[in-house]
Each structure stands twice: as structure tokens, then as C-alpha cells.
């Protein structure tokens, strides 16, 4: 009985994996989004490297200090807002004519 349940679950899982939601034109948009994302990622990697060197020159061992730091208050709010805007921008790359507006 247990074996047949597992087989059914596996079949359902495989069926779910086969579902295809994106049409071929969406793959085109996805590729554009991928490169945009890579661009954003590079900008951040560049900034991190610069930041760590600047801090190190000022006597702050940046990697350790950053790991231990927890954002609070206004800084946390600003970081949250920036993340939301960034997510919007990334998803907007999937819509060549612009991201649909929220109602």
C-alpha cells in the first residue's frame, strides 16, 4: 500500500515537473531578464569589492563586521524599499512594453 502511494506521489510530481507555463516568446524575455540580472549582480559585486577595500583602508575588517551587523530602523526601511524597487525592475524585464500597473 505504502509503495503504491509513493508511486502515485512520484507520478504526480513528475507530471507537475512537466508543466510548461512559459510560451516561447516568454523565453526571449527571460533571457533579457537574465542578462539584466547578471548586470545588476556585477554592479553589486563591484561595489562590494570597492567597499571592502575602502573600509579596510580605514581599519575596518569589512567581511567580519558585515556578517555581524543586523540592519535596524531607517536603514532597514531604506534597504527594504530598495529591494522592492529592484525586484520590480528585474520583473519588468519580462515585459518589453513595461510592467503592468497594479490596480
Amino acid at each position: 500500500m505504502a509503495r503504491s502511494k509513493n508511486a502515485a506521489a512520484a507520478a504526480a510530481e513528475n507530471e507537475a515537473k512537466e508543466l510548461r507555463y512559459l510560451q516561447s516568446r516568454r523565453i526571449e524575455d527571460l533571457a533579457q531578464a537574465f542578462v539584466s540580472l547578471a548586470s545588476e549582480l556585477w554592479i553589486v559585486k563591484d561595489r562590494m569589492a570597492v567597499l571592502e577595500q575602502v573600509l579596510d583602508r580605514h581599519g575596518i575588517p569589512a567581511p567580519t563586521a558585515v556578517d555581524a551587523h543586523v540592519p535596524q530602523g531607517e536603514f532597514k526601511e531604506a534597504l527594504d524599499a530598495e529591494r522592492r524597487a529592484w525586484a520590480q525592475r528585474m520583473i519588468a524585464a519580462l515585459f518589453p512594453r513595461g510592467l503592468p500597473k497594479a490596480d
Binding site: A31, Q32, V35, S39, D46, R47
Partner: protein
């Protein structure tokens, strides 16, 4: 004007340039794929429109081709936007310098009866908004796009190529030199160094590019005389220049406008004066695969006149305009830049 971009703009423009270099790498892979599918100089059809169909059909399963197109699209769609963003992030430092340019000897004249030709309103190279698409497009295109991205990705040294073009002029003792389609003055600068005794003029339709050219001239104490006029109808005095020249202007023009430009150059030159125009490699000097690659890239890059310009016999067009001793030849690797040189009879 020296610019230290803020981190985001510097990193983003650098990334876009590097994506362009990856694209160039993929182009070589596309060439290999074309060869692997049995297409070469013998099997490719002569008609260029039919060749597009033939090659694109053969490359349907080419991963290199599909990803090359995808990256090209991304670069074209993001370059001007990234340059605008980089300007915005530096606006506080840049705007005061650009709004109040240095005072100096350069002049900029904008005739009231300016007639801008229709083709000029294209978004050349997919430059968002065209040459006057931003209040500081001269800086944005001349510095951020041209220097940071084009200079880093275009084959060869784009500044040395201009020097080689200027050196194609037969003399160095001209009294007046006109740079047609001078833009922000990248080539005008080279002419100033090549012909230090000459009065240097520049003509262009773009107010923003000319304003930035004026800034460059004034920064360096150069008395450039800049004119916002179309190169076909400058309104400048006949017989007033020893040399009329241009750098990568012609491929932006329909063939009819190239002929008009040559006729205007002829009118402007004094007897015995020289015309030296530098432009892109002629299709007849490229192999059929390279022609297909260039022609298809030109379509994507909003270069609607590239084909008719690159297939026009420039020496014959110069002769038709009245010039003598017309020569047309490539300098540098892959025949780039291409020179047409001719003389107005005495």
C-alpha cells in the same frame, strides 16, 4: 572633460562593454557554424536579401547565433539607458560644468533657416531619442557611450583610426578645413592637431553635439567655428575651404544625400582643394559571410542606409560631382576605415 563616474555607472557601462566583447566572440562562433552548415563563398547566394533568408534558415539550430542575437538585443536596449542613468547619478557634479561651459574662442552659429533632412531624425545606432534626445546628449554620447563602451569594444583603436583618416589628406598646409558631421568633435580634434595652422570648421545638425564640441574646443583654446547646418546645404561661402572631410558620416546617409554632400563639398572647396571622406568598409571588399553579418547587424542597430552607402561607388560619385583624381581605398585592418579622396580641378 574628465569624468569620474560613480560606482554604479562605472560598473554598469563596463558590464555592457564586456557583453559586447562576448558578442564579438559569439560572432566568430557563428561564422564557424555557417561554415559547418556548408555555406561559403561558393554556396551563398548573391542577392543579399535572399542571403539573409538562406543564412538565417541554416542557423535556426545554432546556439551561438541565437545567443548572439539575444545579447545584441540586450546591449542595444540598455546602452543609452545605462548612459542616461550614469549621467543622472553624476548630475550634481556634471550639470554645473555643462550648463556653464568654459568661455573661449570657439563659436557656434545656428542659422534661423536651418533645414534638417528627414533621415537625420533616425535613432542612429539605436541611440534613444536620436542625437538630440537628451539635454546633455553631447556629453552622454561623446563621453559615456563613445569613450566608455564603443572605444572598449570596437575593433582597433577608434582614435588612431581617425588620425589615419586625417593623414590621408595630401597636404598639411590648408588654410581652412571643414569637418562635415563633426558631432562632438572627436575627429575635429584630430584635424586641429594635424593641421595646426588651419582655421577649423565643423558642421552638424545636432545642437547638443555641437554644444559639447564647442565646450571641448574652448577647454583647449581652439578657435573652432561650428555651424548647425546640414552637410548637403551648409550655406557657407563657395570656394572657401582647402579641405572638406568627414569621419564615419556617409553610412548614416542615403545614397542621394551622399551625392548631395559631395556636390556641396565641391562647391565649398577652392580650386585645387581636396575632399577626404572616411567611412565603413565597402561590401565588395568583404567576404559574403562578413557582408551578411554586417548587413544584419545594421538592420538591428537602426542603420537603415548602411547597405546603400556601403555598396555605393564612392570614387564614381565623387567624379560625378566634378572631382578629379578620385580614389577609393581601405586603410588599416579589414579595409577600415575606407577612404574616398578626390580633388577639385584648378
Amino acid at each position: 572633460m574628465k569624468t569620474t563616474l560613480r560606482q554604479r555607472g562605472r560598473a554598469e557601462l563596463g558590464f555592457i562593454a564586456d557583453v559586447g566583447l562576448v558578442g564579438a566572440q559569439l560572432k566568430r562562433a557563428v561564422r564557424r557554424d555557417i561554415g559547418a552548415r556548408g555555406l561559403d563563398a561558393q554556396t551563398l547566394v548573391a542577392d543579399l536579401d535572399e542571403r539573409h533568408v538562406q543564412v538565417e534558415s541554416a542557423l535556426q539550430d545554432s546556439r551561438a547565433y541565437q545567443n548572439y542575437l539575444m545579447l545584441h538585443k540586450w546591449g542595444l536596449g540598455n546602452l543609452t539607458r545605462a548612459a542616461f542613468d550614469a549621467y543622472e547619478s553624476n548630475r550634481a557634479e556634471l550639470e554645473p560644468q555643462l550648463v556653464e561651459p568654459p568661455v573661449g574662442p570657439a563659436t557656434l552659429e545656428c542659422p534661423a533657416d536651418l533645414k534638417i533632412p528627414g533621415y537625420w531624425h533616425n535613432w542612429f545606432h539605436n541611440t534613444t531619442g536620436g542625437w538630440d534626445g537628451h539635454e546633455q546628449m553631447g556629453f552622454i554620447h561623446g563621453e559615456l557611450i563613445h569613450r566608455w563602451v564603443v572605444g572598449a569594444t570596437f575593433p582597433g583603436n577608434i582614435f588612431a583610426q581617425r588620425e589615419a583618416a586625417a593623414a590621408a589628406a595630401p597636404r598639411v598646409d590648408y588654410r581652412r578645413v571643414l569637418d562635415m558631421g563633426c558631432g562632438t568633435g572627436q575627429y575635429t580634434r584630430v584635424l586641429t592637431q594635424r593641421f595646426p595652422q588651419a582655421e577649423i570648421h565643423g558642421a552638424d545638425c545636432s545642437l547638443r553635439e555641437l554644444q559639447y564640441a564647442q565646450r571641448i574646443a574652448n577647454e583647449n583654446g581652439w578657435a573652432w567655428r561650428l555651424h548647425r547646418v546640414a552637410n548637403e546645404h551648409t550655406g557657407l561661402p563657395a570656394g572657401s575651404f582647402g579641405l572638406v572631410t568627414s569621419y564615419i558620416l556617409l553610412h548614416e546617409l542615403p545614397a542621394s544625400a551622399i551625392r548631395e554632400t559631395f556636390a556641396e563639398a565641391f562647391r565649398l572647396l577652392e580650386p585645387g582643394g581636396d575632399m577626404v571622406m572616411a567611412d565603413v568598409t565597402r561590401y565588395e571588399k568583404m567576404d559574403p559571410i562578413a557582408v551578411w553579418m554586417q548587413d544584419s547587424a545594421a538592420r538591428r542597430e537602426v542603420e537603415p542606409f548602411w547597405r546603400e552607402s556601403a555598396t555605393l561607388d564612392l570614387a564614381a560619385a565623387a567624379t560625378d560631382a566634378g572631382f578629379v583624381d578620385a580614389e577609393s581605398y581601405g586603410i588599416g585592418p579589414m579595409n577600415y576605415p575606407w577612404i574616398v579622396r578626390a580633388r577639385k580641378p584648378r
